[in-house]
Symmetry: C2
């Protein structure tokens, strides 16, 4: 194992940015990039490198603003309603269409509606024309030399029209910043290769290239460099020789890989910052080599993406002459207590929903390896340095990843998660393309508590009540006695034992759990209640079950643990076993219901959701899934 740097610096975010700026200043790289001339039809989204002046006036001649006849106003003064004036066509009056230039010696247009044709060569008019009436004067839109667009302006479709209209065929825009990305890490393989056991797909370069492209830059990635300092130094030397504006070295996941990056940058230039007090994303490196800034990007994908947002995108925009991107920001109430290390700028991915008129933020999983949490996030909450976090119900600032209008149309389901809720979401989205469902998995009981707190629109639950041998209703009476609500069946699901493929331990019933390594579900999960009930029925105590304390949060996680040999057996859905290619012994069919407070029934999203539940196409799709029955789907089973 290589010698390791265990301690990193912990430089505050602002200070790290200031160091980068100072280094750019002294390298002469802090200013916007120079301009290049491009044809207008390639200029959309580019940024002007100079103020643009009109070359031609627009229109560049006086022209008719109406269809009719061009005349000299002075020749029409004697016309009256009661005494028509005859004008000779081609001599005193000239037919013009809108946009036509005014013929010599004319200065007004009479609308075609106000004219009678006396004969082939004569028209009659009934009122004098005022000078310049119905005439678009030269330069009405733009006068030559006028400033049409300012410097550092990102070109939109109408801007291109304005430029063409005042005589430009080309426009001078800032050169695109060029970035070379060097991914490192011996454990990584590049797309489209498929990873073997122990290998991971390198996709941070895909995320960063996308961010750079969206910001207006160009990025290319080199081949992956293994954890070998000499090879990395060579790759860095090659990158410098190509004279890009920025080099990114993407660390692999190990601390060793990170150190190779720092050492290679140090060998060829200076390391200015090594470790930033930001979560997630600590081990960012900022250096400069041959006057080219080099950023070492942490290996965990969430850290990498946030490094892109916090350091790389702002740099691209600076080089384009654009102000930092300001996402729309809102304040939301946190549904959880959030502890935050006092010395760090802490960035949390959150799910947002508007419930009872209040915007509520629920933090998503914090692991820096969980890229799906970033893909699912509605926004990023920032808890600044020197703040300790917020209490449940406290206010946090969130910068939005999705438009607020879309967030306000999101239905938040908390409680037990069923994979088929995604099928529901798909059908809902096909019906109304802007209706989203967000689902936060807190177990069946957790969902009822969330409803009580007003933190969800609806809750998914499958809580077996042994005394009454019914599902859900007794629990609603206990946990939400004062909340008028409707309970609607979502599906009936087959629960049973998930077993390794081929069932090598020969497990055939609950009784066989004695002596097997078991994978359990968390407290409050409906499946956990079911298991406890079955164990009681079979007079088995929890102590007799090895692994009873190993808790997983989803059916798929239980199946995955069995598939990987962590345990021999777990309780869960047939669908989870099928998904992982495992054996399954069905024990019971259970009812999974949705609890919806009555005050939400008029919500347009809830109405659409109930329509989908009663839609035959959806019920057919749901019933075709292994381990599901949909004959009771959409039926109100309690209220």
């Amino acid at each position: 194992m290589a010698k390791r740097r265990i301690y990193l610096e912990d430089i505050p975010l602002d200070e790290a940015r200031a160091k980068l700026q100072a280094a750019l200043e002294s390298a002469g790289k802090a200013s916007p990039l120079p301009g290049e001339s491009v044809p207008l039809d390639e200029a959309l989204g580019r940024v002007t490198a100079e103020p643009i002046h009109a070359r031609l006036s627009s229109p560049h001649f006086h022209c008719a603003a109406m269809d009719g006849y061009a005349v000299s106003a002075a020749a029409t003064v004697s016309a009256r309603e009661t005494r028509a004036l005859a004008l000779r066509l081609g001599v005193e009056a000239f037919p013009v269409n809108t946009g036509d230039p005014l013929p010599e010696a004319t200065n007004a247009v009479i609308m075609i509606e106000n004219v009678n044709q006396a004969d082939e060569s004569t028209i009659l008019i009934y009122a004098a024309a005022a000078p310049w009436q119905h005439v678009r004067l030269m330069g009405e839109d733009m006068v030559a030399t006028e400033t049409v667009l300012q410097i550092n302006h990102q070109l939109r479709p109408v801007d291109l029209g304005a430029l063409a209209g005042c005589g430009h065929q080309q426009v001078t825009v800032r050169r695109k910043p060029r970035v070379v990305i060097i991914p490192t890490g011996s454990e990584l393989v590049a797309l489209p290769e498929r990873p073997k056991r122990g290998q991971l797909i390198e996709y941070n370069s895909l995320i960063l290239r996308g961010q750079i492209h969206e910001a207006g830059g160009e990025a290319s990635a080199t081949a992956i460099v293994g954890d070998d300092e000499t090879a990395l130094r060579q790759a860095l030397t090659d990158a410098i020789a190509a004279k890009p504006d920025l080099i990114l070295v993407l660390s692999g996941s190990s601390a060793g890989s990170h150190d190779f990056s720092a050492n290679a940058i140090k060998a060829l230039g200076d390391v200015l910052v090594h470790g930033i007090a930001v979560r997630p994303g600590h081990p960012v490196i900022i250096g400069i080599a041959s006057d080219i800034p080099v950023i070492g990007v942490p290996g965990y994908p969430v850290s990498a993406a946030l490094t892109g947002e916090l350091f790389i995108v702002p740099l691209i925009r600076q080089w384009l002459g654009l102000a930092p991107l300001q996402r729309a920001t809102i304040e939301a109430l946190s549904t959880q207590k959030i502890a935050s290390p006092i010395g760090d700028d802490d960035f949390l991915r959150v799910a947002l929903a508007e419930i009872d008129g209040r915007l509520q933020a629920t933090p998503l999983q914090r692991g820096a390896g969980v890229i799906t949490s970033l893909a699912q996030a509605d926004g990023l909450a920032h808890i600044p340095r020197f703040h300790e976090g917020v209490d449940r119900g406290g206010t946090i600032k969130v910068s939005l990843y999705r438009p607020l209008s879309l967030i306000k149309q999101t239905l938040l389901i908390m409680g037990s998660h069923d994979p088929m809720l995604d099928l529901l979401a798909t059908h809902l989205r096909k019906r109304t393309s802007d209706q989203r469902i967000a689902s936060v998995n807190v177990g069946s009981l957790g969902g009822l508590i969330a409803l009580r707190r007003g933190e969800a629109h609806l809750a998914g639950c499958h809580l077996f009540h042994p005394e009454s041998e019914t599902y859900n209703v007794p629990y609603l009476q206990r946990y939400l006695p004062n909340e008028p609500l409707e309970l609607v069946t979502f599906a009936q699901r087959e629960q049973g034992l998930i077993l390794a493929a081929g069932n090598p331990k020969g497990i055939s019933s609950i009784a066989d759990l004695r002596g097997a390594r078991y994978i359990n579900r968390q407290r409050g999960a409906g499946t956990r209640l079911l298991v406890d009930h079955l164990l009681t029925q079979h007079e088995i105590s929890a102590d007799e079950i090895a692994g009873y304390e190993h808790e997983e949060y989803t059916h798929l996680a239980v199946a995955a643990a069995v598939a990987d040999g962590i345990g021999d057996c777990g309780m869960g859905l047939r669908s989870a076993a099928e998904a992982m290619g495992l054996d399954f012994i069905g024990l019971t069919w259970e009812r999974f219901d949705l609890a919806i407070p009555r005050r939400h029934l008029e919500n347009a999203g809830i109405r659409a959701l109930l329509e989908v539940l009663r839609d035959e196409a959806f019920k057919r799709d749901l019933g075709a899934q292994k381990g599901y029955r949909s004959d009771e789907t959409g039926i109100i089973v309690g209220s």
Copy 2:
């Protein structure tokens, strides 16, 4: 002249949209387009055509979450702080880096910091390892078969990362909608040709292609078709043969051109809508031919761009499975009374600024030919059908073309416009890339009135006071007696007579204005006051000046009118004469000042603006312009 259809239908906006939707439904074209598979690195911004499920779990093996040693937890139970346990390397303990797969028969990682190396083959540990400590379990991020992204989701950089991470090399996205654009109009020439007198550059296709491209579609434009129904019918037939998703026929500016479009569509299919009660944009045509929707787009550029926003972009998004674009919307106070025809949906381009904490909207020029008004607009105000308009100070809804944060950083200058304010804006933008200046030209007195009403941050004025022979100060005392403000000199400017090139009328002084055709400025303009003063000095009455009643609103407009021979002479700036290649006789140097209410002096934008005014580089640039002196620029001349 061709026979003309003078009256169009006037179908309400909603009804027109409903007719289009009904026609799409019956042609089977209302649904999102089918999918096509593209590599991930080409998928940014595309829209998923199906829900995407994880192919691999991520990580797809249990792996170390820390650098250290992988062990079997069961083998460590006897380790104590006070009684180190020795583990044999390669037998009981295996060195691992973060991300490495756990070796067979291990289920925990001990951090390197908590280990001492006894010798080459042995490590010492001081605490038992809990099962699965410092282990990233298989599927922590995604479990195979889980839904990773929903259908109809527009792909962002992190989404591409999530897809790659769970085993996708390709993704199925909606085919891009294809649009064929047919520009028509005999008066039009295509880029990069230069227009002759009577010709206009065709740029509506550039705007529409940009809008379609931004919305996620593909568009190509055919050659321009002249005002000839047979040729247009042929072009339409060719377009239909290419089987695009949508055809646009862009009318030329004349009513005749519009009729050719309607007739050609009718010859090959059906016209569903011919004229919509929307301003600007009335003469929109909606038709369908061979099951392909055909939209006839009005010729005026503002109408064309709004037809793109109201009909074409929503259609592209519908085909991509996306909800209609919802721009952020704010409420603002109108600084003007706005009359709106009661039967129409009226869309007004507005400039926005935040003054004294209130968002204020000033409507820009309403002519549908003025594309610059759309390029300058901060947003689009909508006055719905059946509303009569709003009073000054009334509230209007505005959908934003720029981020609100940027609008809040805009300084609004009202009053007299000097072309060098653009130079000021350029220097300001170079200094702080997000500081914008918007300038609304209402003349010097109009600017003071705007300040009094709190409708501008500052006002530009050059008001000569004959009695005291001073500038501006007496007017401030008269119009703003109770407003504490600072008056800062912007520039001294040379005013004089703008004459046709070569001065064919031999004008040499104010006295020669008798008998010449004069172009005047509007009442309230500083230049108008100056002219009136000079005429009084020379004992000339306004009646003696031909054209005294012809009012233009800017120096450049006066110069343009002289250049085009509408008049022989006007009063204005040397810079305007120079810009148009005209002769000039200097009469006086005048002072152009900026009046700034003291309560705005702490505004960051005003502070930056004052810094620029005192910056030597700016003063050098300004002084180098013909007809400008900058030696007093930045000096406070009154307060």
